[in-house]
Amino acid sequence: MTRVGVVVFPGSCDDRDATRAVEAMGAEPVALWHGDADLRGTDAVLVPGGFSYGDYLRPGALASLSPVMTAVRTHADAGRPVLGVCNGFQVLTETRLVPGVLRTNASMQFRFEDANLVVERESPWLPGRIAGDVLSIPIKHHDGCWFAEPEAVAELEARGQVLLRYRENPNGSVGSIACVTNERGNVAALMPHPEHAVDPLLGSTDGRVLLQGMLDLARQPVAV
């Protein structure tokens, strides 16, 4: 059984939902307390949504200073899979594990809606999906406007680090980019919440695609 670490910061909210989603995907969730620099032997790490440290200073800024993130960095540097969701994406940008920064939504308001995400290219993170497919996954954030300098954007686009784009850009992200990976491709992050799109009773189940991708990567020996 694949073991997936779910990081819990003070202020994390969706860690409980991520835990349930990992179980629904047939893997074993392991809670990772922010204060311990220890991934407890997990094969993949999920940095969940929520308002770590109340989003104070900058969303994800204070959480990125936690001991657990040093262990996550080692895990990522070793080529192991890391998935950042919403606040998790913000934390991963603050620790520079994925490019760019998340700024306040263009509307200056919190946004909750079902977002249509267009698959940009085939990727181990999106098993069975081809360019042009559309995934419906809910978004719920106040600071989801992804930004990077034009040169950086051009580089990461060229290197194929963009996995998903918003079909209707809800927050002003550059290039409508919704999901981006690091250069090596083993760390992926997005604002939409796959853990909320796993159970048919809640609507879409398209969130299973990304979670399955994470589990596939976790089960491979470090090949990425």
Partner: protein, 720 residues
Amino acid sequence: MNAVSPEPLHRTLGLTDGELGRIQELLGRDPNDFELAVYSLLWSEHCGYKHSRLLLRRFPTSGERVLQGPGENAGVIDVGDGLAVALKVESHNHPSAVEPFQGAATGVGGILRDIFAMGARPIAILDSLRFGELDDDRQRHLFSGVVAGVGSYGNCVGVANVGGEVEFDDSYEHNTLVNAMCVGLLPAEKLTSAKATGPGNLVVLYGSKTGRDGIGGASVLASQGFDESSADKRPSVQIGDPFTGKKLIECTLDLLDRGLLASLQDLGAAGLASSLSEMAASGGVGIDVDLSAVPLREADMEPFEIMISESQERMAAVVEPGRLDDVLSVCARWDLDATVIGSVTASGLLRAFAGGVEVGSMPVDTLVDGAPRYKVAQERPARLEDRPRLFADPVDPSAALRAMLSSTDCGSRRWVTRQYDQLVGSGTVVRPGGDASVVRLTPSARAIAVSLDGNGRRTSLDPRRGGMSIVCEAARNVACTGARPAAMTNCLNFGNPETGEVGYELAESIEGMSLACEALDLPVVSGNVSLYNEHFGRAIHPTPVVGVVGVLDDASLAVRAAFREAGDVVLLAGDGEAALDGSAYQKVVLGEHGGRIPEPDLDSERRLHEFLAQAAERGLLRSAHDVASGGIALCVAEAAIAGAVGAAVEADDLFGEGDGRVVIAAAQADVAALRELAGDLPLREIGTVGGSAIRVGAAELSLAEAAALHDAGIPNAVGA
């Protein structure tokens, strides 16, 4: 005592001469300034319910599901599978008019604490908001600020916002209303009480530090020379810290899971003074509190300031000495201050000490139950009309429907709900936008449906029938999902009870609500009262806001408001009397307000709810949407827009409003079974689902146009 203020101290603190006399009688001596401050807050209308406690006794509060009725922090009902649900609604009206964002945010924070004080994990928030019309900057500022505030707190603590309502009316221009409801889930046997027990047990205060928040009027007591400049130094606004609020929820549930607390109470209005006296009085004991032990955020606070401070995110618990170390370590893990500030005694007194000296000693029952209970004078308002008015048929029904769809009264509430996290907890099976929302109770297959409703405009035309109608509507919204209404909580927002007219409105509304609750077998388990909502003597509409929770045995059978399949049959279940008096049509199209609303037929309402529950259990309903504001025309238009499919329906009374009617859609093959199930409950085929237009009687417009108008209603008014 400072000589500057000409008024005697007790009057400045809001106590009448008679009330001061009563305190002297109960104490057998004069109260000192500290004690006077405590009595002035405990005996305020907000805490003491002086003008409503006698009337509140009318509410039916028992029922076989009720585990805890009014008297504790929240009501609790049994929902089966060993699970229980806590529910309550509370008002934060005045602070929200002063500072909309922080007022609304701290309102949400406060109602959350009432729920987890019962040992329940909060799983849903609903907010009922009322403002003046959106045609001026101030109302737009208040509306945007309150919505952002509600969202900022709820989203940050990770509790899904699943619904509520917004009403715009001149009546609320100077009296913004913010009522916040919370629902929590707990194992039935884990019910926690506020009753302090066991003399010798320790009183532990945990959560945020204490500052001079919300001391307000009592600041006149400050001995540091009370002058104009220092007055405005006192922040009258309470600041909410949702981050600490989230830690407080997790820490509290952690403490309760480990069985470390003997009793628990949240700190709300009047801070320590109110919560310690409530804990002691309900437990029949006394409490000694050492104010010098309270962790402070500001230097050199005076004893009375510490006692009545309304700083947010704080809880008080009674802990057995042997368990103290565990309690302190759990709080440390969640990075929260936790300090022993006193102990339980057998004296029946609330005794406060500062620097080793006793600064106040008051019998707890005089604080909690000693407030005088005024019999409210009742005088039928002259404005009330005896008969419904006569209305001409709408000249241009299609134009009327367009105007109503794009009005702020009937327009889509998505501008509000899209600012709330509706999904955290992965339990929201039916999201806000229809009638009631449905939240499943994982791992159980069950779910609860919850709705929060009010209608000031209709209640002002007939307070008794308005009270009956609002309970019927909230319960009907729940029944439309297939759930069985189980319990009610309410907030009574009214004007100055010392005027005969408001006294009449209050008594009549409570009477009407009680009659409906009795007929629908709906016990009242908790609530709140907010009086003195007036401006230069002009009271707001009598506005009872009712929250109803219902139980659904199987979450997957939840029914939604949206039409689904072209070719489905549209039927009208129930045929309650309808009228245009007090309707959205009368306001939006005719620009008037008056007449008399019909009396709900409570017996047929009950049979309608039972019919919906049984139809849903048998999977016979494709959709169900109750006929409320805007009549059948709005009901059908909303169901079509939500389902993105047209519909054609016959109706001669398009915009009439009343109770006892639900528009349902069903597969043709199920109509016979529905007829049989309905028995003598009226069930009439009125049309079919399909096409790309919405036609209701003589009114017709394209689905696309209807959706665009409906969506643009509030964004246009508020300037997006």
